[in-house]
């Protein structure tokens, strides 16, 4: 029986966790990565972890990061039902790897990481977390969260919570065809939807930090 499955994607190597115990999964992963034929194949890979409905603790994520590091691989994003991500707030510190980097380095790292493209709607309770830019070809519904160290672009309605430049990059932006997030964060800045019903504006809009606050303007005006 297989506890983990691998899939190559354009964004990197996707590892999906199965239903087995964590120990069995880690030992299978260790074996798989350790096979001589796999060595060169996996080396240097960027890894996307799909947790499914599984509960994964921060210590387990750290264990996985350490194992991947032995094979010269890096974890760049975690996707799944968010309850899978046990100590949710701490994960922010876990991706990218926990060493403290200068803001410039973190921003550069976010730009270098391949964008993550999601071709579906992200629904309530689901969370996407990525070390680079996130592109959603679909909607982000209320109760869903997208957290990216780079920019976030939504080709659809953005109505959930979005955090761009989550590692501190204040130049990060959030764009959407219809930009109506419950809450919008860029770096350590935070803005929330106005309480009164907003008239839908067209064309698409983009949010960025200017003079220390988050502003929203029509796409392409600056």
């Amino acid at each position: 029986m297989s506890f983990v499955s691998f899939k190559g994607t354009r964004e990197g190597l996707s590892i999906t966790l199965g239903d087995g115990g964590w120990r069995e999964m880690m030992s299978e992963l260790t074996n798989q990565l350790g096979r001589p034929s796999a060595q060169s194949f996996f080396r240097g890979a960027r890894v996307l972890l799909e947790t499914g409905g599984r509960a994964v603790a921060v210590t387990q994520i750290e264990e996985l990061i350490a194992l991947l590091a032995q094979h010269d691989m890096t974890l760049v994003s975690v996707m799944g039902e968010a309850h899978a991500q046990a100590n949710f707030n701490q994960l922010r510190a876990t991706i990218p790897p926990p060493e403290l980097l200068a803001e410039e380095t973190r921003a550069a790292q976010a730009r270098e990481t391949e964008p993550l493209v999601i071709r579906r709607t992200i629904r309530s309770g689901q969370v996407v977390r990525h070390a680079g830019m996130v592109i959603v070809l679909g909607d982000v519904n209320p109760g869903a969260e997208v957290i990216a160290n780079g920019d976030v672009i939504v080709w659809g309605k953005l109505r959930g919570v979005v955090h761009a430049g989550a590692a501190g990059d204040l130049r990060a932006t959030v764009g959407a065809l219809i930009l109506m997030p419950t809450q919008l964060r860029i770096g350590d800045h935070i803005a929330r939807a106005p309480d009164e019903k907003r008239v839908l504006r067209w064309p698409a809009e983009i949010a960025r930090v200017r003079d220390g606050q988050i502003i929203v303007e029509p796409w392409g005006t600056s």
Binding site: A55, E81, H83, F88, V127, P142, T182, Q183, I190, A193
Partner: protein
């Protein structure tokens, strides 16, 4: 005088627990009582939407219980009634994130600052119901005039009584 913990529950879903909690909160706050409405429906939160405070959520119940945020940071003050507060549920987690003991400890802290703690219980009689009932001084069972609702309410009253809570009046 320390605050009272009232848990609003029903067994059956969709009978108006959340609506009752929000309205009771408003009514008590209008009388000048300090009130906190606590959404215990982790994973399917709604009380924030009903109270119109959805866009103010930064930290939630689970963040407080796990020590990621202070109680003060997670409490959201109502837009109109300064006495009314919301402690929102987490949407990204499930009912296993909280235990009865943790809810009792949390409510003991809240009792020091509030006159009333209204807990909006999830539907059902599983762990979410159990941790919602655990800290309660009194329990309000919401019923609609349907046979299934009445049956479920009767079951819930039995469960509440077995927890040695006061019987419903």
């Amino acid at each position: 005088m320390p605050g009272q913990v009232l848990t609003i529950t029903s067994g059956k879903g969709g009978v108006g627990k959340t609506t009752t909690t929000a309205n009771l909160g408003v009514a008590l706050a209008r009388r000048g009582k300090r009130v906190v409405c606590l959404d215990a429906d982790i994973g399917l939160r709604n009380l924030d939407v009903v109270m119109g405070l959805e866009n103010r959520i930064v930290f939630d119940l689970v963040d407080v219980i796990e020590g990621h945020a202070k109680l003060r940071q997670a409490l959201i003050k109502d837009k109109r009634l300064p006495e009314l507060h919301l402690l929102p549920a987490a949407q990204k987690r499930d009912k296993t994130a909280v235990t009865s003991e943790q809810m009792i400890a949390l409510c003991n802290d809240l009792k020091k600052e509030f006159d009333f703690i209204l807990i909006d219980s999830p539907a059902g009689i599983e762990s979410g119901f159990k941790y919602s009932i655990a800290p309660a001084d009194r329990v309000i069972v919401v019923v609609t005039p349907e046979v299934s609702s009445v049956r479920d309410a009767d079951r819930v009253i039995g469960l509440v009584e077995s927890q040695e809570k006061p019987s419903p009046q």
